[in-house]
């Protein structure tokens, strides 16, 4: 019983990190139509910057507040100078360009911070464990499980009820129409891309105390968040939420129950969903 509950909590906490990064990925795809291979690297960069701020200031919160905006600023440059020239081209070129960016950033991080893994301690208030049946459970993970839905809910509110959110959704549906009614789409795209990057980096900063910070973390999470976004339905928030939860749980239960197959489970699940519902769970008709 307690093993089962621990699995659920583990799955949820990893799922929430996946949710944060997938929301950015799915927003960028929904509005701009770009599937960003480098999104995981932005997540990783968020982790590293958080770690760097913790080293300088000694406070996790400083990393959480100051790391993500730096990543967002960097991504403005990426959108403006690298992505914008190729919007008109085939989707595969966008995939390739961001793939190149991923290689650059993943190895660049190794160049700056070295190949070793680093550990970031959770802030004192979230450190330690709480009693959990006969054993104990880290407070930080519970914090993640609570935080994820909060962030998701506020984003959903933003998109559903604010003026900006509505403009974003309208532009996602019909770019030409948005331009006709006076939306400045290029600025909007830059903004959305930066926002997605900020979300990814936020996820990265939050992940820093949860797992070790290392150069391979981007590569792992990008594939998992691709899967989340695809099974949820590209551009769908509820889809990303459900997808992330499923993948988080598959991860934790798979590791305990069928460790040999755990690595293949997300892919198996992906294939089943894509073949039965080609546009994902919340993606409508193909």
């Amino acid at each position: 019983m307690e093993g089962f509950l621990a699995n659920i909590l583990n799955g949820l906490s990893w799922g929430m990190l996946l949710f944060l990064i997938s929301m950015g990925l799915t927003t960028v795809f929904g509005v701009m139509g770009v599937l960003n291979f480098a999104h995981g690297s932005l997540f990783m960069l968020g982790s590293y910057l958080c770690m760097q701020f913790v080293r300088w200031s000694g406070s996790f919160w400083m990393g959480l507040i100051f790391g993500p905006p730096i990543v967002a600023a960097l991504s403005i440059l990426i959108e403006r100078f690298l992505l914008r020239p190729i919007y008109g081209r085939d989707v595969s070129f966008q995939l390739l360009l961001t793939f190149g960016l991923m290689l650059f950033l993943d190895d660049g991080v190794r160049l700056i911070w070295g190949p070793a893994y680093h550990v970031v301690a959770p802030p004192p208030i979230l450190a330690g464990v709480i009693p959990f049946f006969s054993k104990s459970y880290p407070v930080y993970r519970i914090f993640l499980v609570i935080l994820g839905p909060l962030v998701g809910f506020s984003l959903w509110m933003f998109f559903s009820f604010t003026r900006w959110g509505k403009i974003l959704r309208a532009s996602a549906m019909d770019r030409q129409m948005a331009e006709i009614i006076g939306v400045r789409v290029p600025i909007l795209f830059t903004g959305v891309f930066a926002f997605g990057a900020w979300l990814a980096a936020l996820g990265g900063a939050l992940a820093a105390p949860h797992q070790s910070v290392g150069p391979a973390m981007g590569e792992r999470i990008i594939i998992e968040s691709f899967i989340v976004v695809v099974i949820g339905g590209m551009g769908s928030f509820p889809g990303a939420f459900v997808g992330a939860l499923i993948l988080g749980l598959l991860n934790s239960f798979g590791t305990t129950w069928i460790p040999d197959l755990q690595m293949a489970l997300p892919y198996l699940f992906l294939a089943v969903i894509l073949l039965t519902r080609p546009r994902g769970l919340f993606g409508g008709e193909a």
């Binding site: 360009l97 190149g100 960016l101 290689l103 690595m263 293949a264 997300p266 198996l268």
Partner: protein, 322 residues
């Protein structure tokens, strides 16, 4: 005089002469590198049969490359010491896998096809990585006796790099010739048509799924063949050879050389390895450079190095005409 009828055959002739005489004037080290370029070039060309010709971006091509590697080594370990049998096993095994995976994958296109093939490739990776009793797990499978090359009445050891180089050179040229044949066949035209406008192919009566499936199977079996050569060359089949990032290498090499040119992927492979050896001689961060080069190419030279060169040559050729 049109360049296409005069200059290119001449260049290709010179290239062939160069390749066949290469071991005479290059060190063993470079002979090994060219061997690697040829096998990886063939792999990249198999990828480009799908990408450049058919318009399908597969991120799971390494699954067939790696599967071919394992099939060949398993064949050498358990079945027989025949090199030919190992190569045939690799081809057929990879083709069967491609038939099964392709049957599902060709239903989708664009990004969905890319992600689904990535997923299937990673399932194969998991099998190679976790089925320790058969595949040796993450250590890979390397305990095999290097077979001799059996040319009917003449047995040649391939343990010498130069011998192995000639074997790889000949079979790669044969493989490239086969691919040339495919792209210039009626089927090849159908693939190009489905790249250009898949929907219209159906409305002139083409069976789009079946066309794509056959392309997928052919590409898979050629990738498996290249993988078998690669495993014998490296004396090991290991799980990384099936990982999606290995598929990414084929993608990279193809873009580097030019996906729209027949020999683009091989040229890309050559540039890739030469750059790698040059850059790693002064820094460990080869991927930083590679990433930057890829971004640069996509932005400024989407036709790749060879593609851009050919455009220039063609243009200057036309300029000279009266």
């Amino acid at each position: 005089m049109n360049h296409r009828f005069f200059v290119y055959p001449l260049l290709i002739g010179l290239l062939l002469v160069g390749l066949f005489t290469l071991p005479i004037f290059l060190s063993t080290y470079w002979v090994l590198i060219v061997t690697e370029i040829l096998t990886m070039g063939l792999f990249a060309m198999s990828f480009n049969l799908l990408f450049g010709n058919t318009g399908l971006l597969s991120f799971g091509q390494a699954g067939f490359f790696g599967a071919g590697a394992y099939f060949a080594v398993l064949c050498l370990v358990h079945l027989s010491q025949s090199l030919w049998l190992a190569l045939i096993c690799a081809c057929l095994g990879a083709a069967v896998l491609a038939l099964i995976i392709g049957w599902f994958s060709v239903r989708l296109d664009e990004i969905y096809f890319a992600i689904l093939t990535l997923g299937f490739g990673m399932m194969l990776f998991t099998v190679a990585h976790n089925w320790r009793s058969v595949t040796g797990g993450s250590d890979g499978l390397g305990n095999f006796v290097l077979p001799a090359l059996n040319l009917v009445i003449w047995k040649v050891s391939i343990s010498h790099p130069r011998h192995f180089y000639y074997l790889v050179l000949v079979v790669t040229i044969l493989g490239i010739f086969l691919l040339r044949r495919i792209t210039r066949s009626p089927f090849g035209l159908m693939l190009q048509a489905s790249r250009e406008n898949s929907n219209r192919v159906a409305f002139v009566g083409g069976d789009l799924r079946a066309l794509r499936l056959l392309a997928f199977v052919l590409a898979g079996s050629i990738a498996g063949f290249a993988g078998a050569l690669f495993a014998i060359f490296n004396r090991i089949a290991s799980p990384e050879m099936l990982h999606w990032s290995f598929s990414g290498k084929a993608v990279l090499m193809t873009i580097l050389g030019g996906s729209g040119v027949f020999l683009g992927p091989v040229v890309g492979a050559a540039i890739f390895f030469i750059l790698e050896h040059w850059i790693t001689s002064f820094t460990n961060s080869w991927m930083v450079f590679l990433g930057a080069i890829l971004v640069f190419l996509v932005l400024l030279f989407p036709k790749g190095v060879l593609g851009t060169l050919i455009t220039w040559v063609d243009r200057s050729g036309k300029g000279k005409q009266p």
